[in-house]
Symmetry: C2
C-alpha cells in the first residue's frame, strides 16, 4: 500500500527545486519550513490513509451513469467531502475567495500525493483548480463574486470543455456555438467529449468552462470564446436556481482511471425546459477564449506531469515491497539461506533502480517547473522565470508522463505473473498512467511546443542560460571529489554537451525554416532534455547538505542514472541531428 | 480490422529467414513455394475472417467459471471446432499421428496470424502443440498411441502445469507430489496456478502435463518428474472413461487475454470419487521431468515471441489506418486542402515507422529462430543449427515481446484520446501484450539464459560466427551502392561493433567468474542483440531480389531503423561494459 514519501518530497522541493533558497531570501514572506512540513505531512497522511484505500474500489466499480446521473464509486462522495473539508482545494487560491495563497509548488507536491493515492479521484480537484485559475485571471468581477468562493472551497467543482469528436489537438476546428443574448449572457449549443468529471454527485454544482464559437467569429483559433456554464444556474443571493440546459449523455469505457467519469456533454438540446440553449457567461473577451484556456492548460499540463510522477512513485513503492519479500532462486553472491529476495537479482535491481531514478528525476523536473511559476510571481526578474516555467512545462508534462508509463510497466514486470493479475494492483498503475501522455496535449504536441515556441524564447538565451546552469551542477560534482559519484561528472558533461549540440542544431533549423526537420527530432529532443535534467537534478540532490542522513543513497542513485540511463543521450542527440532524412524517406511506407 | 500480411510473411520466411535457400537446396523434400504460399494464404484468410472478428467479444466477456465449468466467450467453441477442422493444429506434428510434418517455420508463421487475430484464442493451440511435442519426444509408445492422435487433431487440448504460488521462475522448489502405484501409474496431488486453458468447454478432453515430485526424489530441479494427467481417463478402446481427480478451482482476473482461461488447478483432493489422487502416467524418466518440460518450453518461448510479433503487427495496422484517416492541424509541407492526416506529422510518422521497424525486425528474428530449428533437424550440421536456434530463442522471445508492448503502447499514443477508449481496440493490444514479457520465463530470465548458457556455446564460436555473418550483410549493403540505404552500411558496422565488444566483455566476465557483473548487463545486451539483428535482417530484406516491387519501401524502412533506432546500440553496449559498478553501488537503496 502506498505511503506518501513526505520527507523525499520536502527534500526535493527545498533542496532541488529551489524553494529553500527562495524562502531564505524572503520571497515567500513569513512562510517557513515548519508550516510547509506540516502541510506536506498532513497531506501525506490524508493521501495515505484516506485516498489510497479507496483507489481499488474506484477502479473496480468505476463511475456509472444511472438515469442521467453519474454515481461515483462507493465511498468517493464522502471522501471528496472530507477532502474539501480539509481545505485542500484552496491551497493556492486567492485569499479574497477563501484560498490560502500558498506557493504553487506546495500544491503541486500535494497533487502528487493525491494522485499517488488515486489518480482518478485527484482529477476532480485538478480540473477545479484549473477552472479557478481561469476565472480568477480572466473572469469579470461579477463572475468572480458569484462563483469563486464555492469553487475555491470545492463545494462546486469545475471542468474544461475543449474537445469535440473532430477537434482534439486542433481546437481551431471546433463547432460548438454561442449566441449573444440581450441581457449580456450567451446561449451555448454543441457536443463536447472526454469531459473529465463532467457530471457526478459529490458537489452541489459543476461549473463548466466551455470553448465555443460566435456566429460572426473569425475562422480558426482566433474565433474561439470561453464561457462559464454552470450545471445549476445561480441566483443573485448565491442559492441554486433551475437546472441549466446541459447534461451528460454518456460515459466512456476506458483503459484506466475508471473512477473518474469521462463524459460526453450535450449543451442546448432543451432537455430541461422549453427554451433551448445552455446559459453561459463570457470569460475574458470574445474570440480570446483560447488565451484564457491556455491559463488553465499550462497549469493543467504541469498537473498532468504530476500524475506521471505520482504513478511512478506508487508503482515503485509497490514493486520494491514485492521484490524485497518475494524469493526465487539464488542471486550471484547471495550469502543468505534459501532463496534470495528477487531484489537481489541484478536484472531486478536494474529495473527497481531505473524506476527510482525516473521517479525522482521527473519529480525534480516538475517541482522545478512549479518553483519557476512561483518565482515568476514573486521574484524581481519575472520575465526570466516566466520563460523558465514555459520552457520546463512541456518537459515536465511529457517526461513525467512517459516515466509514469515506463515505471508502471516495469513495476508489472518486477511482479512477474502476479503483475498481470488485477487484484495485485500493479496493472492498474499502467492502465491509469497510459492516458497521461495523451491528454492535455499529447506528448508529441508538447515536443512541438518545446522546440518551436520554447527554445526560441529570448532568441534562445533562455535555454542557453539554463544549460549554463546545468554545467555548474556538473562542475559542482567534480569539485565535490566524492568517490560515491563515480564517473558522474564526466557523464553529465557528455550529456549536457549532447543537449547543447541538439539545441543549437534545432535553433539553426528553425532559423533556416527547416521546420519539418526540426519537428522530426522534437520527441527525441524532449526526452534528451528530460534525461539531462534527471541527471543534473539527482546530482544537485546528492550535493545538497540536508542533514537527513540520506546523502549516500542519493549520490548512489545519481551515479546509477549517470552511468546507466544517461548513456541514452548520445543516441537521442543523434536522432535529432541525423534522423530527419531517413524519416522523411521512409514516409513512402505510410502513404 | 486486422488483415493478415500474407505477402510480407512469405517474403520474410523465404528471403530473410532462409527457408527459400533451404528449399532450393532440397532440404524440405518436395515442399515448394506454391504449397507454402497456399497454406499461408488460407491461414491468413482464416485468421482475418474467422478469428479476428471474435477477439473483441472474447476480451469483453472473458472466460467464466460457472458451477465448476469454464465457459468460453460466445462463438469461441465453434471457432475452435472450425479451426481444428481446418487441420491447423497438426501442421508440424508427426504424420504417424495425423500431422502434416511441415517445417516448423510454416507453423510459426501461422501462429503469428492466429495471435494477431486473437492472442487469447491462439493460446489454446500454442499449449496443445507444446504438449504434443513433449509427449511425442519423451512419451512411451503406449502413451503416444493412446493420446497423440486426438491431441494432433486438436480434439483434445494440452496444458503445461509448472507454476505454484511459491515456485515461479524457480521450479526447483515446487511441492506438487506424485506417488507410485503398483500398476505403473501415479497419483498426483497439489495445486498449480496460472494454467492457461486449464479448463474449458471446446474440447472433449484436456491432457495436462504436470510437474511433480516423488517422495524419494532429490531436492531441487533434479527431483522433478513430468506426468501426463488427463481430465477424463481414456479407456483402452480410446473412448472416454470417468472424470479424473482434478478440477479448476478458480480463474484469474487479468489485465488482458481475457478470453483465455487462466486456471488454478487442484489435483487429488477427491472431488470426483472416494479415492484421492489424480491418475497420471510418467512422461520420460523419473526425476528427469525438467528436461522433458524444456522440450515444450523452448518451442513455447518462440511461440510467445510470436505473440509479440503478432500484437505488434495488428497494433501497427490499426494505428496506421487511423493515422491515415484522422485529420488534425497542418503538418509542415502539407500541400493538401484542410487539415492533414495525422500520419503526415513528423512525430506521428516517427511513431508509425518505429512500429513498422520493430514489427518486421522481431518477425525476422523469430522466423530465423524457427528456421534454425528446422535446419537442426534436416541439415547436415545439426549441432551448428541447434546452437543457432538456442542462441536465437531468448532473443526471439524477449525482443519480440518487448516490441509487442512498445508497439502496442505507441499504437495507443497514435490514436490520441481514442486510444484510451476500450471500444477503439488499441488498448486491448497493450493489455494482451503485457503478459508476454513475463510468462514462459521472464525476459530477465531469458537474458540470463542468453548470457550464461548461450554465449558460451562452442566456447563462444557460435556467437562469433553469427556476428561474422552479420558483418557480411553490412558489407552487402555497402557493395550494393544503393542510394536508398543512406548511411545504413556505416550504421550497421557501428552497431555490430557494439555487439562484438559487448559480447567479448561478457565472455571475459564469465570466464573470470564475474557473474554478477555479467548479469547486471544481461538485459541491455539482449536488447542490443535484438536491435542489431533488426537492422541486419531489414537490410537483408532490402537486398533481396524478390521481384514483388516492394524493395524500395524495404530499403527505406531499413534506413530508418539504421539511422534512428540503431543509435541506441552504443548506449546499450556502454551499459553492458560500464554499467555494473554503479548498479552494485546503488543497491543500498533496495535493502
Amino acid at each position: 500500500m502506498y505511503k506518501a514519501p513526505v520527507e523525499e518530497i520536502a527534500f526535493t522541493l527545498k533542496h532541488v527545486a529551489g524553494m529553500g533558497e527562495a524562502m531564505s531570501n524572503g520571497l515567500f514572506g513569513d512562510l517557513g519550513d515548519d508550516l510547509v512540513d506540516a502541510i506536506l505531512a498532513e497531506a501525506g497522511r490524508f493521501a495515505t490513509e484516506e485516498v489510497a484505500p479507496l483507489a481499488e474500489i474506484g477502479d473496480r466499480q468505476g463511475a456509472r451513469l444511472v438515469d442521467g446521473e453519474v454515481r461515483l464509486p462507493d465511498g468517493w462522495r464522502d471522501l471528496y467531502r472530507d477532502w474539501i473539508a480539509g481545505g485542500w482545494n484552496g491551497l493556492t487560491a486567492p485569499e479574497a475567495f477563501g484560498g490560502q495563497a500558498l506557493p504553487h509548488i506546495v500544491n503541486v507536491a500535494a497533487l502528487e500525493m493525491w494522485n499517488s493515492g488515486s489518480m482518478a479521484f485527484a482529477l476532480a480537484p485538478t480540473l477545479t483548480m484549473g477552472a479557478i485559475e481561469a476565472v480568477s485571471t480572466h473572469g469579470s468581477a461579477a463572475l468572480k463574486e458569484k462563483y469563486l468562493e464555492k469553487m475555491v472551497s470545492g463545494e462546486w467543482t469545475g471542468t474544461m470543455n475543449l474537445t469535440e469528436p473532430h477537434a482534439g489537438s486542433d481546437l481551431g476546428v471546433l463547432k460548438a456555438r454561442a449566441e449573444r443574448m440581450p441581457d449580456g449572457s450567451y446561449r451555448i449549443f454543441g457536443q463536447k467529449i472526454f469531459i473529465t468529471w463532467g457530471e457526478h454527485d459529490a458537489a452541489d454544482n459543476i461549473i463548466h468552462l466551455v470553448l465555443a464559437r460566435l456566429a460572426d467569429a473569425p475562422a480558426g483559433t482566433r474565433g474561439i470564446s470561453l464561457f462559464l456554464v454552470p450545471k445549476f444556474l445561480v441566483n443573485d443571493d448565491g442559492s441554486l436556481g433551475p437546472r441549466n440546459d446541459l447534461f451528460c449523455h454518456s460515459l466512456e469505457h476506458k483503459l484506466g482511471i475508471h473512477g473518474s467519469p469521462t463524459c460526453t456533454m450535450i449543451y442546448g438540446d432543451g432537455r430541461f425546459g422549453e427554451e433551448k440553449g445552455a446559459i453561459g457567461w463570457l470569460v475574458g473577451e470574445e474570440n480570446k477564449g483560447l488565451a484564457c484556456m491556455f491559463t488553465m492548460m499550462n497549469n493543467a499540463r504541469l498537473a498532468v506531469g504530476m500524475q506521471g510522477v505520482a504513478i511512478a512513485e506508487a508503482a515503485t513503492q509497490k514493486a520494491l515491497a514485492y521484490a524485497r519479500e518475494r524469493t526465487q532462486g539464488k542471486a550471484p553472491g547471495w550469502a543468505g539461506t534459501g532463496m534470495s529476495p528477487i531484489a537481489e537479482h541484478p536484472d531486478v535491481a536494474r529495473m527497481l533502480l531505473t524506476m527510482k531514478a525516473l521517479t525522482q528525476g521527473s519529480r525534480a523536473i516538475s517541482y522545478a517547473c512549479a518553483h519557476a511559476i512561483d518565482m515568476s510571481r514573486r521574484a524581481g526578474d519575472s520575465r526570466h522565470w516566466q520563460e523558465r516555467a514555459a520552457l520546463l512545462t512541456p518537459i515536465a508534462k511529457s517526461f513525467s508522463t512517459d516515466a509514469g508509463v515506463e515505471v508502471a510497466s516495469l513495476g508489472i514486470q518486477v511482479h512477474g505473473g502476479m503483475g498481470f493479475i488485477e487484484e495485485t494492483g500493479a496493472a492498474r498503475y499502467l492502465r491509469d498512467a497510459r492516458i497521461a501522455p495523451i491528454y492535455e496535449g499529447t506528448n508529441g504536441i508538447q515536443a512541438i511546443d518545446l522546440v518551436t515556441r520554447k527554445l526560441p524564447l529570448s532568441d534562445g538565451d533562455q535555454v542557453k542560460g539554463f544549460i549554463a546552469e546545468l554545467k555548474e551542477i556538473a562542475d559542482g560534482v567534480r569539485r565535490s571529489n566524492l568517490d560515491g559519484f563515480g564517473e558522474t561528472a564526466a557523464r553529465l558533461d557528455a550529456a549536457i554537451a549532447d543537449l547543447e549540440q541538439a539545441t543549437a542544431w534545432l535553433l539553426k533549423a528553425l532559423a533556416d525554416d527547416r521546420t519539418a526537420e526540426a519537428l522530426a527530432g522534437a520527441t527525441p529532443y524532449q526526452r534528451l532534455f528530460g534525461l539531462v535534467l534527471t541527471g543534473c537534478y539527482l546530482a544537485k540532490g546528492g550535493l545538497a547538505e540536508s542533514g537527513d542522513g540520506k546523502g549516500e543513497g542519493r549520490i548512489a542513485l545519481c551515479r546509477f542514472a549517470a552511468e546507466n540511463l544517461l548513456a541514452e543521450t548520445a543516441a537521442l542527440r543523434d536522432r535529432v541531428v541525423n534522423g530527419a532524412a531517413s524519416l522523411a524517406a521512409a514516409r513512402i511506407l505510410l502513404a
